[in-house]
């Protein structure tokens, strides 16, 4: 059974949901502590949502220097699968493991609702769903506008690093990008919360696709 490490940073709040989601898709969740440098031999890593360090300075900007992040970077560079959700996405961007940065929602409001996401790239991260189909996953964030300068943006899209796009403008993200990967494709981040969409009782199980990738890699 694939072992998926879920990191708890100071201020993480979706780590328990993420661990449960890993179990739902058939993996074994392993709790990892931000202050450790030991990944306990896990097969994949999940950085959960939350408000690490109270979102001070910039979201994720302080958590990226947590002791465990050196090991996460080595794991990522070696090709290990890493998924960052919400604050986890912000941390991975600040750590330069993913392109761009998350900035305050343009509408100046915290957004908490289900959103429709359009598949832009056939990818194992989304269960190889066909391009143009949609999945439903909730968002809950105040700083979720992914920003990337115009320079290099076309290349990012041409290389297939944009996996999901918001069906409508949710937060002001550059080109409505919702989910990106690194160039190698093994590190993936998004603001929506797949770990909150793994059980039919919550309205959608589409989140199983992204979490499931961590145990099928």
């Amino acid at each position: 059974m694939a072992r998926v490490g879920v990191i708890t940073f100071l201020g993480s709040l979706d780590d328990r949901d993420a661990m449960r989601a890993v179990g739902v898709v058939g993996g074994e969740a392993v709790s990892l502590w931000h202050g450790s440098t030991d990944l306990q031999g896990v097969d994949a890593i999940l950085l959960p949502g939350g408000f690490s360090y109270g979102d001070h300075l910039r979201c994720g900007a302080l958590a990226r220097f947590s002791p465990i992040m050196g090991a996460v970077a080595e794991f990522a560079v070696a090709g290990g699968p890493v998924l960052g959700i919400c604050n986890g996405f912000q941390i991975l961007c600040e750590a330069d493991l993913l392109p761009g940065i998350l900035t305050p929602n343009h509408g100046q409001r915290f957004i908490c609702r289900d959103v429709e996401l359009i598949v832009e790239q056939e990818s194992p991260w989304i269960g190889n769903r066909a391009v143009g189909t949609t999945i439903a996953v909730p968002v809950k964030h105040g700083d979720g506008a992914w920003f990337h300068p115009e320079e290099g943006l076309d290349e990012l899209e041409e290389q297939g690093q944009v996996l999901l796009r918001y069906a409508e403008d949710v937060n002001g993200a550059t080109r409505r990008v919702a989910c990106v990967t690194n160039a190698a494709g093994n590190v993936c981040g998004l603001m929506p919360h797949p770990e909150h969409a793994v059980d039919p009782i919550l309205g959608s199980i589409d989140g199983q696709l992204l979490v499931g990738r961590l145990i099928n890699s």
């Binding site: 300075l57 910039r58 900007a61 302080l62 220097f65 600040e94 761009g100 940065i101 900035t103 305050p104 929602n105 343009h106 509408g107 100046q108 506008a145 920003f147 990337h148 300068p149 002001g172």
Partner: protein, 78 residues
């Protein structure tokens, strides 16, 4: 010695905080057409060498205090 790092949003980068403040100032009747909101960091650095203080201030600005994608910075010694 005292080093101040000023961090500002880059030109053209959307700044919701500045927009909100600007709207409020406009609502109070002030003739303000734009507000850009940044951050000030006053650092007490353990050195007496102004050049070293400036170098450290710039290094911390690049590595931690600002993000080059959206912000620029300025280091003031003294």
């Amino acid at each position: 010695m005292r080093v101040t790092v000023l961090v500002r949003p880059k030109t053209g980068i959307r700044d919701p905080q500045g927009e909100a403040i600007g709207r409020s100032l406009g609502g109070l009747g002030y003739p303000v057409s734009a507000v850009s909101a940044g951050s000030i960091f006053d650092l007490e650095i353990d050195t007496d060498d102004p050049k070293e203080a400036e170098r450290l201030g710039a290094e911390m600005a690049v590595r931690v205090l600002s993000n080059d994608l959206i912000e620029g910075f300025e280091v003031i010694v003294g």
